[in-house]
Symmetry: C2
Subunit: 201 residues, 2 copies
């Protein structure tokens, strides 16, 4: 139990979200007893990710390159910009097959109680991105939770002040409330997401 | 989402026990967004543990050195040998303060359904350890589960054939059933463990 490398490993595993001391022990024992190759692979994957994964300059999602694959794809509709909270939410929208525009990934949502404000979410970067002269519509694909609603409200207020291509205001929409209230977007089934995209208002 | 280093990291995290694809995503996003230092630390801890953590030659627990601290401690009673399933179980016994002898850590328990037999648990090594001419009593501190009961039965059968210091058979005991049946030892409260140690039969 008291070997220092094992104790250090358990302590390091506890920094993972949702992992307490018992889970960390189990993980460490499992890796050392049954899956040292998995442990080495995880060590390498962590080091490589820390070294190489940065944020896309345009949409802020994780990317190995300055511009992510989606932003660099000329076949995507530059007139639509979909704002999501996380890369997992973006992936869920992509799997729904209902959207062909561009994205902006907030990497979180406004949460005054946790001290997450507009600066932490890169709202200024979103304003610049939405005002590029090509974007006509911004779709707020945020969770229908209290924090998601606050985020949507703040963003739509700010976005409506931005001018679109013809000097007209940006159109700001939100996913239709076909998405069950109180749920996290990434857990919603794909047909519901596709439906909510069509019904956006 | 589709950056290759991120995908590799998520895949590597999924090899941790109890971690599905959603948890792995959350862990990866959390580390890359909020705790890159924690990610680097975990990478180093994993690599160091894989390189340095071996098994103690005498008791089989994890150890950075050939002999673990407990086995190397001359103040421990060499006449008692306590057999546990995991280092976590050993730690629980130590915290109960009711035991001052030596240990043997099986690193598992017999589980025919999972293909874990006597060879996987190093039962031969336990027989050699118990027959060192100093051990008089072997205490089987195994979980009171079906698998723990099978393990205890098989081990006590084998251990009773081994001679103690005076040519007399080893005394083989098991923790008293003060431990709630069906429970994992590491989750039992300490006073119950201490009580069960006194009442061993
Ligand atoms: Zn991008
Ligand atoms: Zn030892």
């Amino acid at each position: 139990m008291a070997t220092s490398h094992l104790a250090t490993l358990i302590e390091a595993l506890r920094r993972l979200p949702g992992v307490g001391v018992k889970s960390a022990q189990r993980m460490a024992f499992h890796l050392l007893q049954h899956d040292r190759e998995g442990a080495s692979r995880l060590a390498q994957a962590l080091a490589a990710a820390v070294e190489h994964v940065r944020h896309c300059e345009r949409c802020h999602t994780f990317s190995d390159t300055p511009l992510c694959d989606t932003c660099a794809d000329p076949s995507r509709d530059a007139r639509q910009l979909c704002v999501v909270e996380t890369p997992a939410d973006q992936a869920a929208l992509e799997r729904s097959g209902g959207y062909k525009g561009q994205y902006f990934v907030l990497m979180g949502r406004l949460s005054p109680l946790d001290g997450i404000g507009t600066r932490d979410l890169g709202v200024q970067a979103l304003m610049r991105r939405a005002g590029d002269g090509q974007v006509q519509e911004v779709i707020l694909a945020l969770s229908f939770t209290a924090e998601g609603d606050v985020t949507a409200h703040v963003l739509s207020q700010a976005l409506r002040a931005i001018q679109g291509p013809d000097g007209t205001p940006l159109q700001v929409t939100r996913l239709a409330r076909g998405v069950p209230a109180g749920s996290e977007l990434e857990y919603v089934d794909l047909s519901t997401i596709a439906h909510a995209l069509v019904d956006r208002r």
